[in-house]
């Protein structure tokens, strides 16, 4: 139980995937103009990350490890993540149009993102992870991404109405803001030793 709590805090704050490990930066910059879309993307990402962590752990543990084929990690993880997400999208589309409206556009978008593959590969590198802890790590990575994305979208909504000097308008002030947020998250370093 303590281990799960440590993994959650560790992945959400200390080793935040966006601001400390710099994974998943394209949706972080691209889909943070409005807080509603940011929330939709956060939900989709958390969902995909949890699924990806689960399925990739299974592939790693029961296919690649016994056959001694761990050099095939990247390609087989990409394949499995894409299929799982595509399958889930079809099922959601059929069974719950409402949920599909919230997540639908973002699901295929997030499939090909580096944060998804990053979580799967980092999980595979940690030999001591079990199925539960690997899933928890994926879920925590999603929560950390959601936290940062929603905070950043809220900041950008304020910046949009602020009087920004002309050379800094648009993406430039976004980058500066992201950098300052990243600095702030550096403050969590050393909070937990895993």
């Amino acid at each position: 139980m303590t281990e799960l709590a440590l993994i959650l805090v560790g992945s959400i704050l200390v080793n935040n995937f966006v601001l400390v490990q710099f994974l998943g930066l394209c949706p972080f910059m691209g889909v943070s103009k409005r807080i509603e879309t940011a929330i939709g993307l956060s939900l989709a990402t958390t969902f995909v990350l949890t699924l990806a962590a689960m399925s990739c752990y299974l592939i790693q543990q029961y296919l690649l490890k016994p056959l001694d084929l761990e050099f095939l990690r990247t390609i087989s993880f990409i394949l499995v993540i894409a299929v799982v997400v595509q399958f889930t999208e079809m099922v959601v589309h059929k069974t719950s149009p409402l949920l599909y409206r919230v997540l639908g556009i973002f699901l295929p978008l997030i499939t090909t993102n580096c944060i998804v593959l990053g979580v799967a590969l980092l999980n595979a590198n940690k030999g001591e992870f079990t199925f539960i802890t690997a899933t928890a790590n994926g879920f925590a990575a999603g929560l950390g991404f959601s936290l940062v994305l929603v905070l950043f979208a809220a900041l950008r909504e304020r910046i949009a109405i602020a009087d920004v000097p002309l050379p800094f308008r648009g993406a430039a002030i976004g980058m500066i803001t992201a950098g300052l947020m990243s600095l702030a998250f550096m403050g969590f370093a050393g909070l937990i030793k895993l």
Binding site: D68, I75, S76, V91, K94, P97, R101
Partner: protein, 191 residues
């Protein structure tokens, strides 16, 4: 050599399983129709008047789902555009200029000239015309959407389209005068 073989085989099997899963899902979870078009259709007023340029509300909803503009529905007016914008998460636009330049209209039957042919009753998409064969017809003004589909079939041309006076939904401030017209002394400078 055996490692290369097992790697190729493992990937092949993995790909085959994944392909089979997706193929099965594509058949098993096929979605009939477009759920988004259904939702848009539910918001349109269902007058089937064709003023949007499509043969009815259903074709227009499919066109919107395919990316057409949301501001082509005069019977629905501002309220429908607002609801569509909320559903699709796009900006509210004013009613399309071509369709929107005339004010809200209502049909009026000059009852002395009406011959009771019932042709306009059959044409009305919202059942806003009251009457029977050989009896004088009249329009229920609160039901009429101003689509002017009844004007064409009338053999004696006794239907007029009249502009409706403003109500709380359609009232808006009048446009301000252009600069230079606002102050009398400015007008003298310009002249």
């Amino acid at each position: 050599m055996s490692m290369v073989l097992s790697a190729v085989l493992a990937l092949l099997v993995l790909c085959l399983i994944c392909g089979a899963i997706l193929g099965f899902a594509a058949v098993r979870f096929r979605v009939e129709g477009d759920p988004l078009a259904e939702q848009i259709n539910a918001l349109l007023p269902q007058t089937q008047c064709g003023q949007c340029g499509y043969p009815g509300c259903k074709p227009y909803s499919e066109a919107i789902a395919g990316g057409d503009k949301i501001n082509k529905c005069p019977p629905g007016g501002e309220a429908t555009i607002q609801a569509l914008a909320d559903l699709l998460d796009v900006e509210v636009e004013p009613l399309d200029a071509v369709e929107g330049e005339k004010p809200q209209m209502v049909a009026f039957i000059r009852e002395a000239e009406c011959i009771g042919c019932t042709k306009c009753i059959q044409a009305c998409p919202v059942d806003a015309i009251l009457g029977a064969a050989k009896q004088m017809h009249t329009v229920i003004a609160s039901e009429c959407t101003g689509c002017d589909l009844c004007v064409e079939p009338c053999p004696v041309d006794c239907i007029d389209m009249l502009p409706v006076g403003g109500n709380l939904q359609s009232w808006h401030w009048s446009q301000p005068l252009p600069p230079g017209q606002l102050i009398a002394t400015d007008r003298e400078h310009a002249a």
